[in-house]
Symmetry: C2
Subunit: 338 residues, 2 copies
DNA sequence: CGGCACTGTCGAAGCGCTTCGACGACCGTG
DNA sequence: CACGGTCGTCGAAGCGCTTCGACAGTGCCG
């Protein structure tokens, strides 16, 4: 493995000159630069990451703290991860993968030992214990999510409250007045994952503003959970004409159930869902949906981290505007039925 | 950020002594050790990873090269990743996440710049271009998969050929004689992902040995693909009584299709599938299946990497034995129907 | 009781890079 | 023509750790 000294010798310059060719931090004549680059190419020189980190106190590595549970939402998590890795590479950074399970200790380990320049966390809880730990680190961090007290920490996410408003607005504009929310599983609420709460409060707010009759219900996973949830909604809100579904895994059983009980989508029940685009399009009925823009969020998180590292200004709370795509699962209700 | 010198001063010893306390490579008196540890705890000292890597030529980081495509098999990939990260942490290593997209260049980048001690790759193709590149690296690598020429590189995977044999054996033992294989999508075959081929040849082999009438078919994603595939199988093998399904995403539409056409599982058609356990159990009919032991494979891959790093002997090809779990989607055929 | 093998600790070198200050060469300016 | 300012390059220090050789002290053997 050749070192910078080998390169310097081969090019007939000093090691520092090679370093400056590499970093561009000082002017180097075109001629010298060419000789150095030739030597680098010929020897196949790659700077030693550890040495570099030691000398420059920069690792060019980002930590990505992901929930590696094997349950729901795996595809979404994967999309975030993909976006983060891709964006990081575009900024010449690599990604160290940590699990949420390691908790605070994991963050401190990689931060204190200077393995990473910044951290990106997903799956934040409302009063996440990791937040105070993050504040103590010298490395900046970016959250994908919006915990309760996030002062001084950059947050990026879809604006779930706006998404709920948009979903209800869309249904209301089509004449729906009685609308049920099929929410995430109780486990998600219990974990206080913030997007669930934010969506719910947006929903309730919009419901009041638009003077709708709505009812909201968490939904246990599995066909049985969906059956119970739907039964509850029907019982509490007879004549419901539309459902907002904020629960990917419930979608399929829900559609099965509706079909089995002879309720057609959208003729008898309209549906607007919030989920990744490909989930919405892969259902037996393609669904009008609000996309979870995992790619954009992940990319933005990385970009925010880069800005922080460069000492540039950042907006500390960036909630991406939702965008609803019509796919025909929402039907106009004629005034007589309202 | 305190350094080893700060600790040394606080404990009244030399830096090298602190280092030896940390590494245990030389005997240190209990008394001194206690003093040093107290100082470490008090100052909150964490060794600088870069400095360590530079001095010791060890990074305690593993590269995990994952296919970050957002299509099928995402849950399986996630399970592998989870297992790898967890196992790596158990051996005091961290995981750097690379995408398959970076190809050979990515491997060389992290290896040449000494960011990692070893590499673990998933989703290998039959004549994977990365294999020759891996051979040139000074770091050892472990493959999850079994490409054509893997001499000198450790490989870990499920024994897909044996899995196919086991699936067919199970069906044959229940009296089935006419059996169709619903294979992965043509895209998977085209990519020459090795597990598809291995499963297929095991299937054909066992079919011949057991003197079965079988037909095999790739299966395009989506309901339409499944319909075509099933139609082809029915046409080529009238009176088929059982299906082996090696295609997770086809399972759901396949079951829907069978139900819609009045063929009950297992009364009219028996099914054995190979997929992650949770997929098999989350179907409307719980399916007799052969698990893809992502957790075991991932853990074994890490363990193999550790052995290689320690200079211990390893088996260069480890194919895990499949295990079939009965869940009632395979029915005994009475001799009269055979 | 001299010599030897440990045991426990230290000092210094060195890992490969970045960065700062220095300095000669060269330019334009007054 | 002398002077200040750039430009291009070099040398050396230093980042924080590991590791090797050295060495004082101790216990044991012959």
């Amino acid at each position: 493995m050749p070192t910078i000294n080998d390169v310097a010798r081969a090019a007939g310059v000093s090691p520092s000159t090679v370093s400056y060719v590499l970093s561009g931090r000082r002017p180097i004549s075109a001629e010298t630069r060419a000789r150095v680059q030739a030597a680098i190419a010929e020897l196949g020189f790659h700077p030693h990451a550890g040495a570099r980190a030691l000398a420059s106190s920069k690792t060019n590595v980002l930590a990505l703290v992901a929930p590696l549970r094997v349950d729901v939402n795996v595809p979404v998590i994967m999309q975030f991860a993909t976006a983060v890795v891709t964006a990081a590479r575009a900024h010449n950074h690599d990604v160290l993968l940590l699990t949420k399970d390691e908790g605070t200790a994991g963050l401190e380990r990689v931060a204190h030992s200077t393995m990473v320049d910044a951290l990106i966390l997903m799956d934040l809880e409302r009063d996440d214990l990791r937040i105070p730990a993050l504040r103590r680190l010298k490395q900046p961090s970016v959250l994908i999510g919006l915990p309760a007290d996030h002062t001084g920490i950059a947050c990026v996410d879809l604006d779930f409250a706006a998404a709920a408003r948009e979903a209800l607005g869309h249904l209301a504009a089509h004449g729906h007045r009685r609308i049920g929310l099929v929410g995430p599983s109780p486990a998600v609420y219990k974990r206080q994952t913030t997007y669930a709460d934010r969506f719910l409060s947006g929903f309730l707010e919009a419901s009041a503003e638009l003077e709708l009759r709505t009812v909201t219900h968490p939904c246990e996973p599995g066909a049985a959970g969906v059956r119970d949830c739907l039964a509850d909604i029907d019982a509490q809100l007879p004549g419901v004409t539309a459902l907002v579904v904020h629960n990917e895994e419930a979608l399929r059983p829900l559609l099965d159930l509706l079909r089995a009980s002879g309720r057609r989508v959208p003729e008898d029940v309209s549906i607007v869902t919030i989920c990744p685009r490909d989930v919405a399009t892969s259902m037996p009925v393609t669904l009008t949906s609000i996309d979870i823009p995992a790619h954009d969020v992940g990319t933005l998180a990385v970009e925010t981290a880069m800005r922080l590292l460069d000492g540039r200004r950042v907006e500390y709370t960036r909630l991406l505007a939702p965008s609803l795509v019509e796919r025909g699962s929402c039907r106009e209700i004629s005034p007589s039925h309202r």
